[in-house]
């Protein structure tokens, strides 16, 4: 694929974008697992939602 005389700039722009989006995706995945761990921790300690109090 011929990107023309500005290939370096195009490749650099795609590389930066790929890196930043990859970091963003990694952050979302890590944050999701972190939130699940916190919620699991609370569940283990028997802390329930107010909405589930009546059911317990």
């Amino acid at each position: 694929m011929n990107l023309g005389p500005h290939a370096d700039f195009i490749v650099a722009a795609y590389a930066v974008t790929t890196f930043v989006v990859a970091v963003l995706v990694a952050w979302v995945v890590l944050d999701y697992s972190s939130q699940r761990r916190i919620l699991g921790d609370l569940e283990e300690r028997g802390v329930t939602r107010r909405s589930q109090k009546g059911k317990a």
Binding site: F9, A12, A13, T17, V20, L24, I38, T48, R49, S51
Partner: protein
């Protein structure tokens, strides 16, 4: 973020708060991409990576505002106060949006005039316009993915914090994980 800030400050709706929290890092990341890739493309087209013209500077200000909002969200001891402060900053920062949009018309800038939303249709080649629209859709998809997760976390933890505090602050109920609930619980205990 402006709408979510209004929702946080005026209606105090929890979904507005989580929407703002979800959008802020994503907005910062995409604004950073915009600045870097624009700067890279500026070198072959304008002959320089950066110039302090109105469009580039106003977008840089937008990025700094995003960082400010993130700092308020992440560093505030009391999450609810941090959210309100971030919402105020987001509202103030919203003034920057029309400045960014019309900067190329109000001032003589190196940046080209409006090329997407203009009379006579878009002046951008489809090979560039299509990826731009895809990335716009991707931004909203990531926000929509992140917001419900944040809402679930808030919906679960806020009442639970309340419950633990009102259950006598039993230490066994305090989670080990590194978040701010214990501080909040201790404050509530001191108040009661």
């Amino acid at each position: 973020m402006t709408v979510s800030a209004l929702g946080t400050l005026v209606w105090r709706h929890p979904l507005a708060d989580v929407a703002g929290k979800a959008a802020a890092p994503i907005g910062a990341a995409f604004t950073f991409i915009c600045l870097i890739t624009g700067s890279l493309w500026g070198r072959p087209t304008w002959g320089t990576y950066w110039v302090w013209d109105a469009r580039l500077t106003s977008v840089l200000v937008l990025f700094l505002l995003y960082l400010g909002v993130l700092a308020l969200y992440w560093t505030a001891e009391d999450p609810s106060r941090g959210s309100r402060a971030a919402a105020v900053l987001a509202l103030v920062g919203a003034v920057n949006i029309p400045i960014i949009k019309f900067s190329v018309e109000w001032w003589n800038t190196l940046h080209q005039p409006a090329s997407i939303m203009r009379v006579g249709g878009s002046a951008i080649d489809p090979s560039i316009l299509t990826p731009l629209l895809i990335m716009t859709a991707a931004f909203h998809a990531v926000v929509l993915h992140a917001a419900p997760r944040r809402h679930a976390q808030r919906n679960s933890t806020a009442p639970r914090t309340h419950d633990v505090a009102h259950a006598g602050g039993d230490p066994r109920m305090i989670p080990k994980s590194g978040h701010r609930f214990p501080d909040k619980i201790m404050r509530k205990e001191k108040c009661s």
